[in-house]
Subunit: 189 residues, 2 copies
DNA sequence: AAAAAACGTTGACATAGGACAAGCTTTTTC
DNA sequence: GAAAAAGCTTGTCCTATGTCAACGTTTTTT
């Protein structure tokens, strides 16, 4: 159950086995179904999630009912509604597992406890933030001024498995184009 | 010269004056002209900048010669080509002061030295990353699926001074719309 | 202070891509 | 495993917004 998480930690920092065990002891397993909602629009996010198996998605729905997907985490990735998790404001978004999934969940209190007491964990968190920031930045550049075809090429380049893994509809909502347009582009390679 | 930076630090953490002085001692003043380039496209970013006065902008130019602005930092803000600063890859963007500015500059080595040795500084850096991440996320939601009018309203809501401070052209390149469109929208309130 | 360059605004026109709908396929439900 | 629901693809049509150009204004240069 914890092997992927342990591998994740050990691959990022030099750390004693006891500390890894201690860290893992705060993560509780959670099995979810396809399309299960973990955090709702007006809730405040109190958990951090590690994906052992499956996939989680962050998305919002605007007043016209249109979904926008912001983030996906697959096996071996961390994810949560981070702005809400940090600031303890309502998420204004949804966190869901889009497939039957196995997650490891840590509470916000425990998470920050680990950040405060285990320097290696603080470093891992810092790297998550740095990486998240870089990814978000790339996404802004990757989308600004790109037409639909360029966006699709960009995602194939930067996240090769993405289009194979998520539905046409969700992929389109991540790229900021309509499902029809994505479908048309894919049919032309 | 260092008063704004000191205020910035003290407003974010409990810290001894000697440590604040120590931190400041690593920041060197730098005066720049309007439109001065600090970091070029193929360079690797080795500095972090604090804006004492003026404004810095991060932008890139695509193959058609179109500028995209990614980030602005005004008085009292930190800024750099963070992805490059973190990963030591070429920036693939430009960092410039768009007005005559006074900056405080710290080298990457000194910056990470402070992160490693002064926990409060590490915390400030973590908050910068968290905030940067949140801002980037909001921007993604703020732009995905919004039409031009909604983008302009969004920026007025979220960064009220923005349109007053930067040129029409740069604002448009930040919002991902053409200068003509921005101009037309502004004329209709 | 004059000349040149850059910028902002506005009009006319063109077009990428969204909306909607129909038909087909896949997935889910009972 | 049949029925229902959801998703994918593709056609037609339409609109928001980009492009280009002209003109006036502001800024920069010398």
């Amino acid at each position: 159950m914890y092997t992927i998480l342990k591998k994740y930690i050990n691959s990022r920092t030099q750390i004693k086995d006891e500390e890894v065990e201690l860290i893992c002891s705060f993560f509780k397993p959670l099995k979810t179904k396809r399309n299960e909602i973990l955090v709702r629009y007006d809730e405040i996010c109190q958990q951090y999630y590690f994906v052992n198996k499956g996939c989680i998605r962050l998305f919002t729905i605007n007043k016209e009912g249109i979904e926008t997907s912001r983030f996906f985490a697959f096996e071996g990735g961390f994810g949560t509604a981070l702005p809400s998790f940090i600031d303890q404001q309502p998420t204004y978004e949804y966190l869901q597992t889009i497939e039957k999934s196995e997650l490891l969940v840590i509470s916000r209190a425990d998470f920050y406890h680990l950040v405060a007491t285990i320097p290696q964990f603080a470093m891992i968190y810092r790297e998550i933030l740095e990486l998240g920031f870089i990814t978000a930045q790339k996404r802004i550049y990757g989308f600004q001024g790109f037409d639909a075809l360029e966006k699709v090429k960009w995602i194939i380049e930067n996240q090769p498995h993405f289009l194979l893994r998520v539905s046409n509809k969700m992929a389109a909502s991540y790229l900021g184009i309509s499902p029809s347009t994505l479908s048309r582009i894919k049919s032309k390679l």
